[in-house]
């Protein structure tokens, strides 16, 4: 070994040692399990301990209306929840970034983020106590004479949406505030001086500028909503029909891992497709958006 090669070898060895843990993390916990899941989903049980390759699991999905109805329903509800979250978070983020000055804005942001320091389980418990038939709101409505008897406010689609929007707000408010803050006020003033209406300013200046933040927020919210289990399950009860519940049923209750793997892959495909579509529509790159979110 020559004198010059020794340090180089040492550096390479060092790099190899440093690379080992991240590679182990990414391959043992992310890449290989997903490859294995794909293999599992293309498998069919022929007899005890005997398996063959087939598309049977995917055929079942498309052949059984219940499964793909739930799938489509989950996607549509998630899209609605994402849109509602955006509409609700937009004015609040604007107020925090532009209207509340200095410490007040920072305080308002902290106050808005506070509920998200407690777990989704606790927040869902709150909604259950508020909305169930014997709960706070139905009793209040009844005693105010607005309803003839206490109404059950749980187990409706609207209830699921309320819960999902509530859980997602944080992930929309933060990227929106960040992108509004970087918008130069003088642009808005110039547009106003030139006679633009509030709506025109919103459409021509604010939204184009905030597009990266809006995209980041929508992608994250849609993905989290699609993969949510707790909120639809507890607030929707038997009517929730969320796709993650189907995955759970196949995997844990029925122990039909092949079917569960296929369902998991379909959900992953939908989630990935939406992320990709969001990036395409806004012309952004994956890395930038994720780092921003």
């Amino acid at each position: 070994m020559t004198g010059a090669a020794a340090p180089r070898l040492q550096a390479r060895l060092m790099l190899g040692l440093m690379l080992a843990p991240p590679l182990l993390w990414l391959f043992a916990l992310i890449v290989l399990p997903h490859v294995d899941l794909a293999v599992l989903s293309f498998r069919e049980r022929l007899g005890p301990g005997e398996y063959g390759r087939s598309l049977e699991q995917y055929r079942t999905f498309f052949g059984e209306p219940l499964y793909w109805h739930v799938f489509v329903r989950t996607a549509v509800m998630s899209a609605i929840a994402t849109l509602l979250t955006l509409l609700m978070a937009f004015p609040v983020a604007w107020t925090i970034a532009k209207l509340a000055r200095g410490r007040l804005g920072a305080l308002l942001l902290v106050v808005c983020l506070l509920p998200f320091w407690v777990s989704e389980t606790v927040r869902t418990l709150g909604w259950m106590i508020l909305l169930r038939e014997s709960g706070v709101l139905p009793q209040l409505l009844y005693h105010l004479g607005l309803t003839a008897a206490p109404v059950e406010l749980l187990y409706h689609d609207a209830t699921i949406l309320v819960g999902l929007v509530y859980t997602s707000l944080l992930f929309m408010v933060v990227p929106l505030v960040n992108s509004f803050e970087s918008l130069d006020n003088s642009l808005i003033e110039a547009a106003y001086d030139l006679g633009a209406s509030g709506f025109a300013i919103l459409r021509e200046i604010v939204i184009p500028h905030a597009k990266p933040g809006i995209t980041a927020g929508c992608i994250v919210v849609f993905m989290l909503t699609l993969g949510n289990y707790l909120t639809p399950n507890l607030l929707g009860g038997k009517n929730s029909q969320w796709f993650t519940e189907q995955i759970y049923t196949q995997f844990i209750t029925r122990f039909n891992w092949e079917q569960g793997a296929a369902f998991g892959f379909l959900l992953l495909a939908l989630s990935t497709a939406m992320v990709w579509l969001g990036l395409k529509l806004s012309g952004q790159r994956f890395g930038d958006v994720m780092r921003r979110a």
């Binding site: 440093m18 690379l19 843990p21 991240p22 993390w25 990414l26 992310i30 399990p33 997903h34 294995d36 899941l37 599992l40 609700m88 004015p91 609040v92 107020t95 532009k98 209207l99 808005c112 506070l114 320091w117 407690v118 777990s119 989704e120 389980t121 606790v122 927040r123 418990l125 709150g126 909604w127 106590i129 508020l130 014997s134 709960g135 706070v136 009793q139 509530y166 707000l169 808005i188 003033e189 106003y192 993905m223 989290l224 993969g227 949510n228 289990y229 507890l234 995955i247 759970y248 995997f251 844990i252 793997a261 998991g264 959900l267 992953l268 989630s271 994956f286 890395g287 994720m290 780092r291």
Partner: protein, 286 residues
């Protein structure tokens, strides 16, 4: 629109009204949970029956098992704590290592690797859970067939829960710590090296202290995310249930206000953690 432009009075009023409504929406569920922890009734529901601490302190004799006597609930709280500690340590360690590799490393495939590190963030938690569950079980079976060994830690249980949560929380720690390392002024390191400091000394006395706020911040986030995780945990859990899983089980059965008590306990703990971190942040800025 913005303060420097005139805006009609109705717009200001609407903004304030909306903001008030929004805050009510945010805090109503949490306040409700807290209030009903003290209601003297068997179920967390109106009407108000008077104030009691039974749901915290009650024991078998009073017919109500309060939080501090509920072995099962306390056990799951402890389980969550242990899992969160493991996930935090592992995530911050690998996050720091990744930050150095991605910001400093010169090797082929670095770009691809740094993108791959973001992938766990866009995989739904349920799918992370089932893929790790299936993969671990297959390995366990393979080892069992080949060597006759039973690898207990690859079966559903706490080790798998830790691995499952770590698989995506590590990505969050990586992003947070990398972002800070990117802003680091490398001339500081060069100056120290010129002055004769060894590489190890530079790392210990300059670079790591600079990274500390990001490491503490991501540790807090990692701990919190682990403590609150539900989706991934649900798929990987064995017989020892962490708190979220335990609470979920009881909520489905129609629980007593002891769940409100434990929720209030969590809220106070999170608030204290948040305050401590913000204090630290302000002191640093000052």
């Amino acid at each position: 629109m913005i303060p420097s432009l005139p805006s009609p009075r109705w717009l200001k009023a609407t903004t304030l009204l909306y903001l008030g409504g929004f805050l009510l929406f945010l805090f109503l569920p949490l306040v409700t949970v807290g209030v009903f922890a003290f209601n003297d009734a068997e179920y967390p529901a109106p009407p108000w029956h008077g104030f009691t601490l039974d749901w915290f302190l009650g024991n078998e004799a009073s017919g109500r098992v309060g939080l501090f006597r509920d072995e099962e609930l306390l056990g799951s709280l402890w389980t969550s704590f242990v899992v969160a500690c493991w996930v935090t340590v592992l995530s911050v360690a690998i996050g720091t290592l990744n930050a150095f590799l991605m910001e400093r490393g010169r090797f082929r495939g670095r770009e691809a690797l740094s993108l791959l590190m973001l992938v766990p963030l866009v995989v739904p938690g349920v799918i992370l859970g089932i893929s790790i569950l299936a993969f671990a079980s297959r390995i366990a079976e393979l080892v069992n067939d080949l060597a006759g060994l039973e690898l207990e830690f690859l079966r559903p249980g706490l080790p798998l829960v830790v691995l499952g949560q770590f698989s995506y929380i590590a990505a969050i720690a990586t992003v947070t710590i990398s972002a800070r390392l990117k802003r680091f002024d490398r001339t500081l390191e060069e100056a120290a090296l010129n002055l004769g400091a060894s590489r190890a000394a530079v790392l210990r006395t300059i670079t790591l202290p600079y990274l500390r706020p990001a490491m503490i911040g991501s540790a807090a986030i990692a701990f919190l995310m682990s403590f609150e995780n539900f989706n991934t945990t649900l798929m990987l859990v064995g017989s020892d249930a962490p708190l979220t899983i335990m609470m979920y089980g009881r909520m489905r059965e129609g629980a007593t206000p002891v769940l409100n008590a434990v929720s209030l306990f969590l809220m106070v703990a999170s608030a204290l953690l948040a305050l401590t971190l913000m204090r630290r942040g302000e002191r640093r800025d000052a």
